[in-house]
Amino acid sequence: MQKMLLATLLIAVLFLSGCTTQTGKVYHVGILSGLDALSGIADSFKAKMTELGYIEGKNIVYDIQKTNFEPDKEQQILKKFVDDKVDLIFTFPTEPAVAAKAATQGTGIPVVFSFATIEDNNLVDSVRQPGGNITGVREPGPDIFVKRLEILHELAPQAKRVYITYNPNAPPVPPALDVLRKAAPLMNVTLVENPVATVEEIETDLQARNKSADIGMDAILMMGEPLSVSPPALEAMTKFATEHKIPIGGVGSYTIRGSIVFSYEIVLDDMGKLAAPLTDKILKGTPAGTIPVVTPEAKLLINYKLAKELNLTVSEGLLARADEIIR
C-alpha cells in the first residue's frame, strides 16, 4: 500500500515538474543610432520590445551606441558589435544600416534597420524578400519627396523657386532628386539646388544669398537627409527663412516643428515600434532575409500659426488632411 502511495506521489511530482521548464537565454542586441535627431527610435524600439516580453536586464541586454553622422565611429562600433558576437544589430538610418550589412557579412549576425532608404543602395533585394541577413523598416520611398514639394506648392503656390540643399552622396538623395526633377516642372516650380559636402557650405551659401539683392528662392524644401537636418544646418536654414519671411518645410516635426510650416514624414515612434516585431521574429529563429521590409505611414503636420504669419492661405482640404495642426 505504501509503495502504491509513493508511486502516486512520484507521478504527481513528475507531472508538476514538467510544467516549469524555462530557457534562460539572454539576448544581446547592439543598437547603433546614427543620428542624434533620430535617437528616439531606440527608445520606442525598446518600449515595444518590452511589450513583446523582452525585459531589459532580464532576458535582453542592449548595447546602445550613438554617433552623429560619423562614418568612422560607426565602423568601430559595428566592429565591436561583431567582436562581441551580439545576437542582433538594430541600426538607423540608412548609412549605418548599409555599413552594418557590410560589417556583418559572413558573421551570421542579423541586422534590423529602421529609417533607411532601400532604393539605389542594395540594402535589400526586395521588399518581400530582403535576402541576406537583413530586414527592417524603410523610409517610404522617394515619392514622399515629391509629395512634400506638392504640399509646399499647395501652401505657397506663388513660390516658384524652391531651394533644396543636400549632400548628393546621402542615400535617400539620388532617387529623390530623380523624381523631384521630373515633378517640379509639372507644378511650374524651379528647383534651386545646392549640393554640399559640409554644413559650413550651407551656411556660406545662405550668407552669400543674404548679401545679394535677390535671395534667389521663394521657399525652402528640406530634404531629410542627415547633413541638412543636422542642428547647425537646420538653424542656419530656419534663421534664413525667418529673416526673409519665406516658407520652409518638409521634415523636422521632431526637432524644429515651431520653425517649419509643414512636415510630411514618419512618426519617429513608429520607426522603432515597427522594428520590434521583426526583431522578435528573428530572435525566435526566422531568418531575417525572409522577413519582408515594413513600410510605415507618413504623417502630415501643418504649422497653421506660422503659415498665417507668413500670409499663406492654408486650404481647408489641406488642414483636413493634416494629422496634426499647430495653431
Binding site: V179, A183, G317
Partner: protein, 426 residues
C-alpha cells in the same frame, strides 16, 4: 504449529485472502475502467460539439469585425457622397470634400470622383501626383462593375512599392432624385485592417486571419506573412473556402494544419461582401484542454479508486478468511487433543454457523468422552467388587480348606493311633 507451516509451504497452496483480495481488486478495476471510459467518451463527444459551435460563433464574430471594417468605409463614402451633394458641387469644393474624407480615414490612400461618364472630376491622394497609380485601376473592367450604380469591392492587389494589400471600393453618387451622377472611388490600404485582425482574441493562443477568394493572405497579426504575399490554399479550411461557392460555414471540426504549422481546430466564416473569409484557429491542445483535464481527473479518480479497492479488498478478504483461519487453527489444536480450545468466531453468517457447529461438535465430543470415562470407572468398580468377592470366597475356601486339612490330619493321626492301638492289641 508445524502443520500450518507445512501447509503454507505446499506447492499448490494459494491463500484465500490473496485470491479474494485479487478478485475484489480485479472486479473494482474493471468497473472503474468501464465507468471512466464511458464518461471520457461522452465527455469528449460533448466537448467536441461545444468546440465546434464555439468556433463557429467566434468565426462569425471575427467575420463581423472584419466586415464592419469594410462597411465602415462604405458608409463613410456613402455619407460623403450624399451629404456633400458632390454631384452638383464645383471641382474645388469636390476636392475639398475628398480631402476631408482622406483626412478622416487613414486607410484611404487615394480618392477619385468620377462623373456619370466615368471621367475624373476630382482626385486626392497620399501619394504625389506623379506616383498616383490608381489611374491604371480605373479601367473598363472596373467601369463595367460599377455601371449598375451599386457598391463594389474589387479583388485585392498588392502595391509594388510597399507590398501591402490594397483594394478599390466604389459607391455611386446620386443626386436628390436618386439619379446616378457619378462614382466615388477609393483605394483602401488593407494594412489598417491588420491591427484589427491581429487583436481578435481566439482563446489563449488561437489566431484569426483573412484570406481572399484566391486563398491569398490579406490580414494577419504577423504582418510579415501578409507582406510576403503568402497563398494559404494548402491549408484545409482555406482550401474549403476557395473551392466552395456559397456562403455555407462547414460544421465539422476535425484537426488540421494551421497557419503556424501547428495542429489546430479551424473554422471559417465567409464575409459575402467583400468575397473574403475569416479563418479562426485554436491549437488542438488548447481546444481539448478541458478534455485533457478530464482525462487527468479521471485517471486520478481511478487511481484513488484502485487504491481504495486494494484497501477494501484486503480488509474484506481478511474479514472473510480470519474466522476460517481461526477454525482451522482450532481444528488443528482439537486434533492434538486440546478439547478445551476456545473458538473465537462470532460472525453471524455461514461461517458463524460453522463455528457453532464446531462448538457443538466439541461439546458432543466432550460429553461422549465423559460417558466413556464413566463407563470405564463403573467397570473398574465392578471388577474391583468382583475381585473382592472372589477373594473373600477364596479366603473362605482356604479357611475351609484349612479346616478340612486339619481334620484330615487328625484323622490321619487318629488312624495312626488306631493302628498303633491295634498293633498293640495284637
Amino acid at each position: 504449529m508445524p502443520t500450518q507451516n507445512e501447509a503454507k509451504k505446499g506447492r499448490n497452496f494459494r491463500s484465500l485472502t490473496v485470491t479474494l483480495a485479487l478478485a475484489f481488486l480485479a472486479l473494482s478495476t474493471v468497473v472503474l475502467l468501464i465507468a471512466s471510459g464511458l464518461e471520457l467518451y461522452f465527455n469528449f463527444q460533448t466537448q467536441q460539439q461545444v468546440i465546434v459551435s464555439q468556433q463557429q460563433l467566434i468565426a462569425q464574430d471575427a467575420a463581423n469585425t472584419v466586415k464592419s471594417f469594410v462597411q465602415d468605409k462604405f458608409s463613410m463614402m456613402e455619407s460623403t457622397a450624399s451629404i456633400s451633394s458632390m454631384a452638383i458641387e464645383n471641382q474645388e469644393q469636390q476636392k475639398n470634400v475628398l480631402d476631408k474624407l482622406l483626412g478622416r480615414e487613414p486607410s484611404f490612400r487615394q480618392l477619385v470622383l468620377l462623373d456619370a461618364q466615368n471621367r475624373k472630376l476630382a482626385e486626392v491622394s497620399r501619394l504625389s501626383q506623379s506616383a498616383s497609380r490608381i489611374d491604371s485601376r480605373l479601367d473598363s473592367n472596373l467601369f463595367a462593375q460599377i455601371q449598375d450604380g451599386e457598391k463594389y469591392v474589387s479583388s485585392v492587389y498588392i502595391d509594388n512599392i510597399t507590398s501591402e494589400p490594397m483594394m478599390i471600393m466604389t459607391v455611386p453618387v446620386k443626386d436628390i432624385f436618386g439619379d446616378l451622377k457619378g462614382t466615388l472611388v477609393a483605394e483602401v490600404n488593407l494594412k489598417f485592417m491588420w491591427d484589427l485582425v491581429g487583436r481578435i482574441k481566439i482563446g489563449d493562443k488561437g489566431v484569426a486571419y483573412v484570406v481572399d477568394r484566391q486563398g491569398d493572405l490579406i490580414a494577419f497579426g504577423d504582418i510579415s506573412r501578409v507582406l510576403r504575399g503568402e497563398n494559404l490554399i494548402h491549408l484545409e479550411k482555406v482550401n474549403d473556402f476557395v473551392s466552395s461557392k456559397g456562403l455555407i460555414i462547414t460544421g465539422e471540426s476535425g484537426t488540421s494544419k494551421g497557419i503556424q504549422g501547428n495542429s489546430v481546430i479551424a473554422n471559417y466564416a465567409p464575409l459575402g461582401m467583400p468575397d473574403w473569409a475569416v479563418v479562426v484557429e485554436l491549437p488542438v491542445e488548447e481546444a481539448y484542454q478541458a478534455v485533457a483535464q478530464g482525462v487527468v481527473m479521471s485517471a486520478l479518480i481511478m487511481l484513488l479508486g484502485i487504491f481504495l479497492a486494494v484497501v477494501a479488498g484486503i480488509y474484506l478478504s481478511r474479514r472473510i478468511t480470519r474466522p476460517i483461519i481461526g477454525l482451522r487453527d482450532a481444528a488443528i489444536k482439537i486434533g492434538q487433543g486440546a478439547l478445551d480450545t476456545q473458538i473465537e468466531v462470532k460472525s453471524r453468517n455461514e461461517i458463524g454457523d460453522l463455528a457453532s457447529a464446531f462448538r457443538q461438535m466439541m461439546d458432543d465430543l466432550k460429553k461422549s468422552r465423559a460417558k466413556l470415562e464413566h463407563h470405564q470407572q463403573e467397570l473398574e468398580k465392578n471388577v474391583d467388587e468382583r475381585t473382592k468377592e472372589l477373594q473373600a470366597k477364596v479366603e473362605e475356601l482356604q479357611k475351609f480348606n484349612r479346616l478340612a486339612v486339619g481334620r484330615e490330619l487328625r484323622m490321619i493321626e487318629l488312624k495312626k493311633r488306631i493302628r498303633e492301638l491295634e498293633s498293640k492289641r495284637r
